[in-house]
Symmetry: C2
Subunit: 461 residues, 2 copies
């Protein structure tokens, strides 16, 4: 048994009674308003609380309030959208809040009321997943499933798990993280009984392809993800689809570390001590060459930006290697607003003038003829293949990077499409040492660089 | 048809009548002496002329005289060896020649008589290859087969082929060359009719695995060589076993070049124009780093030295690559006496201080524990594998080469065994530019360097 006082941790992470009351009072009021409005307007719709607040698994200070406005399944979609948004807007107005319309799989409105952020989301009432019209329609069944199955004391276990996941860096199913969603945490606690049960299972029995199928649907083979958690309310959905192998592995490692050396510190943010001059020293000591590509992220939702940045990062590493240079590592970061950075650390960044180019086999007459015409007798035979030495187009990785980004001479770089525009509009390629000396490096970028140098830092306390 | 005056070429390459007469007179005398000695001593043995002189396929100035002394199959081996050598020695003595004992598959004696070099080789008379006691026993049947089958005019075709092969660098089955033997040239002419027939077949129809089976033995599948020429006198032997893919390919290319642009020049040594300062300039221009390992070759037969040098060359290239450096090319050379050189041209010869080291999968508990103990929490997770950065043992290829050669710290270098002793005794590793400036570079090494830079030079005229 792990010898740790979870109650002390729970005291810190559970919402306080005043916090709960404040949220409850606000929600009662909002639901009352929406439902009254609906009656008044003659709309067959009803407000319902969903998500972690409804399930009692929210963490102190993290009230993530989702108010769903549910319509009968036979409601016309245009009508649902129109009245869903209208009811939201009116309610926000009546509460003197500020409204902002947003889009997920369909539109919703966010209200900022009394310092709280509340999403008003219209959806359909479905009896089962075959009636699903949009991803949000699953939310009410999710909430109901958890409320129905989670034992009273297990809400605490979910909170411990979420908090642990958060501070080791594996919580969140958004693309930025690629980790575990709140609903997935709840299913894990349902499957393994407790926070500690989840950690022990992860440490002892998880492998890529691990299956959690609470309702025994037997549909796991539909999925090719590292972790497969068949959705109890939709057998054709993997709740862990957004979890990547990296984050799954990190959680397994952090679980093992915690169980070996339990400590309350695993539930609190790690205090990272970093310092520009030490980071600079570290990069210098490695003897590698590190470039930063900096640019402005495009104005698209965060969940679209991160995959595009990752794609560009991977493609840059790939083309640089194809050109003959050697990449030791890469990473990327954005504040989702003004700055984005792609880091490329090179093991080889200067190459000789010549490179070997393999030609056709000498037995292949046609290819050979064309090859020899092109290389005009400077070719030679190695084994039974033609070989030539050709001048390298780029002897220097920095020139290469500059060329492919500015003039886009080399069409094989795979940008995210919105990113391409932004990068071609304006960007900079800068040596990391120069960047660190330039005074342009803020604390966020510094933390990113620190984490690049200490990549699994968060998995230990 | 190729428009070239082969007669003019043949005039140059065929032995002159005086040369033929000189060799014939000498041989008649030697055979007479041996046979008379044998009768006198009461030995059942008889001298017989074999090889290219016997077959009339020798090139002017290249009389390679083999006198075999054949014994009945039931002769005891000790007796054969003793009397074979004795007869040879006595004959050489009577001709006032100088004798030198040598060893192939069994001992023989070489005589230097009147400016000619004659091998006196004892062997058995065999009826067919099942009676074979040593490789030399095949020589008489080889000679007889060729004499029996080669049409009178085809001796000229063999001479053209040998001479062509010689000047494009593919003639000789010794390890130094790895090319075509004289006997193989004869079989090729038997198969394809003429010099030009051989070249056309090579250009048009040869591929790795090509089969020449004059007696239709159907045993070609026994062999896994690039060219398979089933020996007409021994169905279990590939006459082309010593021919490597490189030399086979070079011949095919040279054949194609000649047929496209026939020229007498293909039958004469190519005039290579090289010059120290141009070679130095060429190496400098490439922007690579080239090291030479120089040492004294061991005093073992040439056919043992070359494979050992090649093995060492390949192994050096391999370990240098395994250490993270990149090899662009390598080659080796020896004068078989005082000097041997291994050349290593590097594309990458300096590397950063750190390198990435892949560890076990995070799911593999045992391996993981040992790994983490060793790397004391500086490891991180990539995908589902542990990774660490470790300091590189060698950041500089020159230090690495010096270390593995002097102290032999790193046991995985595969030396030829006699070479290892010589190299550990004394060697030098030197940058090619420094070497070229040192005044130590003689014309032979310069030619080797020139050929490294112009590798298929001999295949064209």
């Amino acid at each position: 048994m792990v010898d740790i006082n979870y109650n002390a941790v729970l005291e810190d992470i559970k919402p306080t009674e005043p916090e709960k009351k404040k949220v409850k009072d606000l929600l009662d009021k909002l639901i009352h308003i929406i439902n009254k409005l609906a009656v008044k307007e003659g709309i067959t719709a009803e407000a319902v609380l969903v998500g972690s607040v409804a399930k009692g698994t929210w963490l102190a200070g993290k009230a993530d309030i989702d108010l769903f406005i549910k319509f009968p399944l036979n409601t016309e979609e245009r009508y649902l959208k129109k009245w869903g948004l209208t009811l939201g807007h009116k309610c926000i107005e009546m509460m003197n809040g500020r409204a902002e319309e947003r889009y997920a799989s369909h539109p919703y409105v966010t209200g900022f009321i009394n310092g709280c952020e509340i999403d008003f989301v219209p959806c359909y009432i479905i009896a089962d997943s075959s009636q699903l019209k949009s991803a949000v329609d699953r939310t009410i069944p999710h909430t109901e499933y958890v409320k129905r199955n989670l034992k009273p004391n297990q809400a605490d276990e979910v909170m411990l798990l979420k908090k642990f996941m958060g501070s080791v860096g594996t919580y969140g199913s958004e693309f930025k993280v690629g980790g575990f969603s709140g609903y997935l945490c709840e299913l894990l606690v349902l499957r393994y009984g407790s926070f500690q049960g989840v950690l022990e299972a992860a440490r002892d029995s998880w492998k890529p392809g691990c299956i959690i199928d609470l309702e025994n649907y037997g549909t796991a083979e539909l999925f090719d993800d590292p972790l497969i958690a068949v959705d109890p309310v939709d057998k054709n959905r993997n709740v862990a689809a957004a979890l990547n192998l990296q984050k799954m592995s990190e959680f397994v490692v952090a679980a093992g570390n915690f169980l070996k050396n339990p400590s309350k510190e695993y539930f609190y943010p790690k205090n990272l001590e970093f310092d520009l001059s030490l980071i600079k020293e570290e990069f210098e000591k490695r003897g590698t060459k590190t470039f930063l590509l900096t640019f402005r992220p495009p104005e698209i939702p965060a969940d679209a930006v991160y995959p595009q940045i990752k794609k560009t990062e991977n493609s840059m590493a790939q083309v640089v290697e194809r050109e003959g240079f050697k990449v030791l590592g890469s990473d990327s970061w954005t504040d989702e607003n003004e700055k984005a950075v792609i880091l490329l650390e090179l093991e080889t960044w200067k190459l000789p003038r010549v490179k070997k180019h393999l030609g056709p086999f000498i037995w292949s007459k046609d290819h050979q003829e064309r090859f020899l015409e092109k290389y005009d007798n400077c070719a030679w035979v190695e084994g039974d293949r033609w070989v030539v030495e050709v001048p390298r187009k780029y002897e220097n990785a920095e020139y290469f990077l500059n060329d492919i980004l500015v003039e886009n001479k080399i069409g094989y770089l795979q940008f995210g499409k919105h990113l391409k525009e932004e990068i071609l509009k304006n960007h900079e390629i800068i040596d990391i040492i120069e960047f660190l000396e330039s005074g342009k490096c803020d604390d966020n970028i510094l933390e990113f660089l620190y984490m690049y140098l200490n990549r699994s830092e968060l998995l230990w306390r």
